[in-house]
């Protein structure tokens, strides 16, 4: 009998503490960043940002762009967007949010130093990274590096080339849309005929490539290079026509923490913030930031020159139909 009483009172105390601390947390000033970047990059950014702005407590929710947009949509429905800042690679989403008037225009102090890839710039969102996607392949299975996109139709890749699901991943959607505009849907049809698969998130296809479940995948630069650094038997190569996908950052208009959000955007555009981006193994937007030698990434200028063309307006309008078309192709038996 005693035991039950003890448990009950202990539990009651614990439950009350839970309620209490939840109440306290709600009053604390925080900066919520919804982002599709992975933990490996966010950890370093958070550490440096905390050093520079100890007054701001940065929290992030890391998930695929599709999931984040769904979350934001649901939050809008319920009346309040929890996020202060959005940072993904799904550029059409940003144009969409801008057209709905829920973004807070903010032009960062060092805007002149960046190479802005986005047309119609008004500060609603600012690119802070030039993500690249290449072909990651597992060196246990593929001995000769693929050189062109067409090499993926070869038999070495049969049944084991993966592309992330464009409904989940922003980089995957941008890549699929860009490639289909450059080479036509027939390119994906040919890949599918060679047994290519649609995976889940952008991180998951790379993990599967590292494990050997896939021999190769359409892969985001820094996620792949992080795993290679940890010892994965992989390599990352870029065909001549490159996929260069900007990742913009935006502040929500109704954000109660706009001041902190602006500090964050300024920090990310600064040389310090951009150096972290470069150290992670992806391209910064500032040409004056030095790229680490070990990653063998192309320079910002070179990448932009080789990049396949992106029509943001069109990709925004065609998003649903593009995803549907791609899914149909990839699920063909």
């Amino acid at each position: 009998m005693r035991v039950l009483k003890k448990i009950a009172s202990a539990c009651a105390v614990a439950a009350l503490c839970g309620a209490f601390s939840a109440g306290v947390q709600a009053q604390e000033q925080k900066l919520y960043v919804y982002t599709s970047m992975k933990e490996s990059m966010l950890n370093d950014i958070r550490a440096s940002f905390a050093k520079k702005h100890p007054e701001v407590k940065l929290e992030y929710q890391s998930a695929g762009a599709g999931k984040l947009m769904a979350k934001i949509a649901a939050e809008r429905e319920s009346g309040k967007i929890l996020a202060d800042v959005l940072w993904t690679s799904e550029v059409p989403d940003f144009y969409h949010l801008k057209s709905q008037g829920i973004l807070l225009p903010f032009i960062p102090a060092e805007i002149k130093s960046i190479r802005n890839p986005l047309p119609d710039y008004d500060g609603s969102f600012t690119a802070i990274r030039l993500g690249t996607l290449g072909i990651a392949y597992n060196t246990r299975f593929i001995k000769e590096a693929p050189k062109t996109w067409d090499d993926l139709k070869k038999s070495e890749f049969k049944g084991a080339f993966g592309i992330a699901n464009p409904a989940l991943s922003g980089t995957a959607y941008m890549s699929v849309a860009t490639i289909s505009k450059t080479f036509g849907w027939s390119f994906f049809e040919a890949l599918r005929a060679n047994g290519a698969k649609m995976g889940k998130g952008s991180g998951q296809v790379i993990d599967d490539t590292a494990s050997g479940d896939l021999v190769a995948s359409l892969a985001v630069d820094y996620i792949t290079l992080d795993k290679i650094k940890k010892g994965a038997t992989m390599a990352l190569v870029y065909p001549p026509e490159m996929l260069v996908i900007p990742s913009p950052v935006a502040i929500f208009k109704d954000s109660p923490n706009a001041l902190a959000a602006k500090k964050f955007v300024d920090f990310m555009v600064s040389k310090e913030g951009q150096s972290i981006i470069a150290e992670q193994g992806t391209l910064p937007v500032r040409p004056d930031v030095k790229l680490p030698e070990s990653y063998k990434l192309p320079s910002v200028e070179d990448a932009v020159k080789r990049a396949m063309a992106i029509d943001y307006q069109q990709f925004m309008q065609e998003k649903e139909s593009n995803i549907k078309k791609f899914t149909e192709i990839m699920q063909k038996k």
Binding site: M1, A22, A70, S78, G203, Q204, I206, D207, D208
Partner: protein
């Protein structure tokens, strides 16, 4: 005065219990049906049919039925066989084996699924690689990303439902029936077929239906093993709908229609179970006064023991070891040699990753709060149902047991509809929304345990207290509550332990700071952070198993005292 105060307490209790059940259970449920069938203010069945005819919807429905039927068949066979083995044969170490067969209940099925993905994914799974790289097989021996793979994994972790029921029945069964058949000249085969199996059939069936109910509503295994190759069941499709294109009304509607289908199917299964149980009330399974005769396994004794141990080794030890080993790899896919092993992932997950602390804290506090709330609310509601003579208590009973047949993803969906601001209260993105869902989800557990305890408290005790001048409240506090404490305890643990490792509900409800342990593991895996998710799963296993053992100790110590 006594009369009015008694009336007052009774009314108060009744209103309170109705209030809890309506708010927590009835409103979310009604909203689901409402959203499924009403479009723009009109009752609209045509649209429901349109949703059901979309290929992804009916494929998910068929998959749910197919997978759960498969798991039910294999799980029932496995569970019945092992139950027979540990109760009716002279298998060595029977007692230990019986305990070992209950261990799969402790392991969350989705962690098992993660482990089997690592072992048997076609190209990268360690078992497949062993066969291909070392033994020179040209193709993988087994592909886990298939219907067969999902059924296999779920069977491993769900068969105890049947095992528990059947071994209980076999132990309580009156052996004189079998003996008289033997004396009359029947051989073992005839006895088994004509006496034993018919007698335990109700237990087998009710266990089987529990497996079916659980498997049909199960999210984790299919999410880990099926979704990649396009195998969705209803809970995974609801998750996909909510997470990918949520906010748009159409996807929420599709989800409510799916939820409705799931509820109807589950209700049908429960109805079936009730019928089976009512039919099968043979009064032959009596008290445990007889010792059942044991079949002599003779030369098969040792091989059978080895077989059982192998089974345990393959389904429990191997996956657990795999989780811990992969959690120690530098990156997923490397071979297990010492230069690839590191403590870094565990260090990172335990000390550096904020979400771990959040997740453990969330799961523990949610589990405790849900268990406490349902424990107390359960006593009140059961008291009204069992002891009071109030009109309309049938509704209470129905409402309370409803969530038992309602799958977790449906409850989560109902809670989203009810508590995300449309009706004045917005709990979205907070832990409270998960708590409300847990209370609804686990209320039935508490009602079962508490009404069983209350039924044993004779009315005369309360009457005696009242006759001696106690108020209704005093009688409850000093007489009834102390007597039903064991029931309350049971309810508490029945809820706390499953809530600790819950995934299906919280995966639909979590926000940036409200991940549960299950959600944290699942999202890490989904993001392709396999080694981190394995490390966290390992840590979670340690927490869960320690919790189980501590609680078992506590309960055992108490009953001895």
């Amino acid at each position: 005065m006594g009369k009015t105060s008694r009336f007052g307490t009774a009314q108060l209790l009744f209103v309170l219990s109705v209030g809890i059940l309506v708010v927590v259970v009835a409103v979310p449920m009604l909203l689901i049906f409402f959203n499924a069938f009403w479009v723009n203010g009109h009752f609209n069945v045509a649209d429901v049919i349109r949703v059901l005819r979309q290929s992804e919807t009916y494929e998910a429905l068929l998959n749910s039925l197919f997978l759960s039927s498969g798991v039910t068949i294999t799980g029932t066979l496995v569970g019945t066989f092992f139950a027979w083995l540990v109760t009716r044969t002279d298998l060595p170490l029977k007692k230990t084996m019986k305990l070992l067969f209950l261990v799969p209940f402790m392991l969350p099925a989705f962690i098992g699924a993660l482990a089997w993905k690592m072992l048997l994914s076609p190209r990268a799974g360690y078992i497949n690689r062993l066969f291909m790289d070392v033994f020179g097989f040209s193709s993988p021996i087994f592909d886990i990303y298939t219907y067969a793979g999902i059924i296999l994994v779920e069977t491993m972790y769900l068969f105890p439902f049947v095992f528990i029921q059947v071994s209980g029945a076999l132990e309580r069964m009156d052996p004189t029936l079998e003996e008289s058949a033997r004396i009359s000249g029947a051989d073992l085969f005839t006895i088994t077929r004509k006496i034993t199996i018919p007698l335990v059939m109700p237990s087998i069936l009710s266990g089987a239906l529990l497996i079916m109910l659980y498997s049909m509503a199960h999210f984790g295994t299919v999410a880990v093993l099926g979704v990649e190759t396009g195998i969705y069941n209803i809970p995974t499709l609801i998750y996909e709908k909510i997470h990918q294109s949520a906010g748009s009304f159409d996807s929420i509607r599709t989800a409510t229609v799916l939820a409705t289908v799931l509820v109807i199917t589950a209700a049908f299964i429960l109805w079936l179970q009730n019928r089976v149980l009512n039919q099968g009330r043979y009064q032959i399974i009596a008290g445990k006064s007889f010792r059942p005769s044991e079949l002599k396994l003779r030369t098969w004794r040792i091989p059978m023991l080895v077989f059982c141990l192998l089974y345990i080794g393959l389904t429990i030890v191997l996956p657990t070891v795999t989780i811990f080993m992969v959690g120690g790899l530098k990156t997923y896919g490397l071979p297990f040699v010492s230069e690839n092993m590191t403590w870094e992932n565990y260090r990172y997950i335990l000390f550096e990753w904020d979400l771990t602390r959040d997740a453990i804290w969330n799961s523990v506090s949610l589990g405790l709060s849900a268990a406490l709330i349902t424990m107390f609310a359960g006593v009140i509601i059961s008291y009204v149902i069992v002891k009071m003579k109030v009109r309309g208590k049938g509704i209470l009973e129905f409402l309370g047991m409803l969530p038992f047949s309602v799958p977790g993803s449906v409850i989560a969906l109902g809670v989203i509809l009810a508590w995300s601001g449309k009706y004045g209260i917005n709990l979205y993105n907070t832990v409270w929304i998960i708590l409300v869902a847990y209370v609804a989800r686990y209320m039935a557990f508490s009602l079962k345990a508490n009404s069983a305890a209350l039924e044993q408290v004779h009315d005369s005790l309360v009457e005696a207290a009242r006759a001696s001048g106690a108020t209704m409240w005093q009688a409850l506090k000093d007489v009834v509550v102390p007597l039903v404490r064991p029931g309350m305890m049971a309810a508490f643990f029945l809820i706390f332990l499953p809530a600790l490792r819950e995934l299906t509900v919280s995966v639909l409800l979590y926000g940036p700071t409200t991940r549960t342990i299950g959600v944290a593991i699942y999202t890490l895996n989904e993001d392709g952070e396999t080694v981190y998710s394995a490390a966290l799963a390992g840590i979670a296993l340690v927490i869960i198993v320690t919790g189980e053992i501590l609680i078992k100790r506590l309960v055992a110590g108490k009953s001895n005292a």
